[in-house]
Amino acid sequence: MLPAVDYLIVPDKGDPYLEGHKCNVCGAMFLGERTVCSKCFARDKMSKVKLSNNGTLYSYSIVYRSFPGIDVPYISALVDLEDGGTVKGNLINVEPDPENVDFGMKVKVVYGDALGRKDKDGNSYMSYFFEPA
């Protein structure tokens, strides 16, 4: 399957993972390839790093109205990963109710089919999700 975003790596062998680009000078973490650090302005000092699959919930919203054809409700979550990087995605396997969602809750990154979405050529995609650890 193809990755839904460029910072999701799906190797031929082994497990999929999220990839960050880290500035070797100041430590800033980015998603997606780049050559210049927008925090400290260093050039050509970025390294690829494998991001952790463990993180904590930083903030969220429960989405009840989205664009036509998108299933609601769902939890849109911002997750701080262990060892750096913040990623956004759907928090799954939790009833979408503020009662059930706690700031700072431990979550893990899981990988799976991109909700059955296919591109115009009929290709399937792999995406990532968060679920309670």
Binding site: A4, S61, V63, A114
Partner: protein
Amino acid sequence: MSDVYVLGVDMIKFGRFPDRTVPNIGAEAALMALDDAGLSIKDMQAMYCGNLGQANAMVGQRILQEIGQTGIPVVNCANACATGATAFREAWMSIKAGMYDVVLAVGVEQMGKGLLGGTGGGDGIPKEGLLGSGTMPCVFAEAGMEHSSKYGTTFEQFAKISVKNHHHSTLNPKAMYQIETPLDDVMNAEMISYPNTKLMCSVNVDGSAAAVLVSEKKAKELGMQRAIKVRASALASDPYTDRDLVMPDVNACTRIAVKDAYEQAELGAEDVNLVELHDCFATAEMLHYENLGLCKDGEAGMMIDEGHVELGGKIPVNVSGGLLSKGHPLGATGIANIYEVCSHLRGEAGKRQVEGAKIGMTHVIGLGTACAIHILEKP
């Protein structure tokens, strides 16, 4: 450098005008501002026009084609929801630079209905609802929930902001809506993106606003009776912050801009008598009480609970009704809130007049991110 004054300023009543064109809507406000200044298009030496939806379509020139083609330089600006304020600021800068003495700034927008935003198009498959949501109600809900996480801010406190702004708009005949929305109505309205219900989202409307800016020399020549001094004009972009890539930061750039604005004006938040700030969602307004220094960090919930930000309170915020009820035509908003503050400083704001207002502040945020702040003073 010359001081800069607003000599004429006005806005149309916001509404929905599907049968009109963008330039036609903009032309109406331009003529109103010229009339307010007692000047003609022949007197304008340059024009700065803000519009987002037709950013590639020469809206400024097309406005002049409706009200008078004098051959003056026209610059069209797009800067997300800071578009109108950016056009105003460019006009201000051109006078500061000594290039012109009389300049027209116009902001105009024609909006569709429905959700703005969304997580990118691009190749492959749609990401909305797969990798969270990029809709504006959600993005600003997430920013508000960050505040909840830090300070325990509640759904009810966010909702109270919408009650306040809708109440204010009942006193503003130019607002899209003049309807009271009690707390129960706000909290029980359709949930769009928790904690923002439908009544906690700004209204997509069509609208325009315009201002005539003049140099001090010109203001003195034409009469200072209704002139309003621009004490500060600040514009900031978003600095790098740790969650930048997934969480547009509306806080850091507001703090940079307001620091600059207070320094330019040589005053502080305690000197400001009213504020029109960017309440694109109820959750957003909460953040800016702190970002603009109207209270200490962590006190925003108290500001709404205690009524400090209501008309009659310590520092009234969005007495126009704000984007939540006056409406939010993206390119017009930045100049419309300058109109609002000028109305109060001139003592012409009618039933919603902030008594004795001498200094007012306007603030807009365009996601991406641009923050523009103006401080205005009755001379």
